[in-house]
Amino acid sequence: MSLRRRLLVAFAFAGAALALAFLLLPVAAIFLRVPPGRLLHLLTSPVVIDALVVSAKTSLIAQVLILLLGTPLAYFLATTRFRGRGALVTLVELPLVLPPAVAGLGLLAAFGRVGLLGSTVDAVGLAIPFTQTAVVLAVAFVASPLYIRQAIAVFEAVDPDLIAASRTLGAGSMRTFFRVVLPLARGGLAAGEALAFARGLGELGATIMFAGSLRGVTQTLPLAIYEQFSLNFDTALAMGALLVVVSAVLLVFLKVILAWQPSRLTSGFPFARST
């Protein structure tokens, strides 16, 4: 090896090690600053329990909504060809890259009391801002594109010959969807859902603008971290540690699913495989 080449390799190696340290250090620091026993103890404080309950409840409802409404939309977008389809897919994906503060503004402008639909919603006796419904909407808005995007890719990858075979054998389109398409797409859909769940769990900006922050009602874990930062830094760290663990579990789950799936069904998946 020439000297120049050796220098280049050394430089690349140092750069890689540096990048690795940079990415791992903040996560490690959350666990290292306070002894683990105290972190666990802090997790049982009432403010954490309340935030955990709110986060679990709103996430669950939001994710069920995403699955129930996002799946048909994704299937429609994956199987139908029409003018402007590309533009529509891009619009559906837009909340993904939108700054959360903009998402909060949009939700207020649309569903707020003085928003676009505000008077209609108010007339029915529903007030959305400051309620758990607002949290669910904020989470669904920012997280659903992750699922829908992945679902479109997965549905597109299902072999059309298998669908045709099912239809020629006499199965209706519904039966074909539930017996052929869904089982084939299952893994990829679960992967998209795991990502959407992780994103929804971390939602802060849109929620704090649209739903406010009230303990036990709209204060999710990220909002509680934000509040505890100035009240009790250690409690904020404990919740941070909890979210790191949950996120890590979700990521591992995602990778396991993807390792199971034949690649042709998950084409277009944007994350690196660990296996």
């Binding site: 140092a14 207020l108 707020g112 009391r113 009230l214 009240l231």
Partner: protein, 242 residues
Amino acid sequence: MRVVLVAVLAAVLVGTAAAHSDATRPTVYAAASLTDAFPKIAPGGRYSFGGSNALAAQIRQGAPADVFASANMTLPQKLHDDGFCSQPVVFTRNKLVVIVPSSNPAGIRSVYDLRRHGIKLVLAAQGVPVGSYTLQVLRNMNLTSVLKNVVSRETDVREVLAKVALGEADAGFVYSTDARTVPKKVRALKIPAWAQPKVQYGICVVTASSHKPAARAFVKRVLSTAGQKILLRYGFLRRVKR
């Protein structure tokens, strides 16, 4: 490894230092209620406005603040006791009002109306100075029952103002100086003088500041006749009660 990482961080700091090295421009961490007045007093300052409690927490975590101006005396006094800033002095005072959107959807005419069922009341969070003052007012007036109408606890006074000005909340507690900033959007309802808490703003020079002369000059300017005049113009009260 550690050395290299620190070296790289130092390099990044040097690269971004232009934003911090100007010795004549102090970085001022100030209560959100000072958002409009402070830049008028010292246009050259660099400001970070927010809940005083969040700012104090940031200073404890080593934020590069030169001056801390809080909406109470307890936070800067605690920082001083722990060696984070100089002995704070009172530089202005304020009072609380109840605000309602100018459309007043809930038809609130006095503080006592806040007890009505179903009113959407927005307060500042526990620990934010205006949040503690609000609790004092409610205790003074025997109105703690209105706390059941609270729909959100915001991170600073301007967030409370925004939620009411938008018309999303029916009422909120803010300083009278905040209500004046959006006269078309909110209406202020008076809180009787006997129920008012002692709202004193404290200012101090951050111990870790690397621009101490600029920081001291800023504090001097705020306390000067000219500085006090500007605060009065924005509706703040004289720093010593007469």
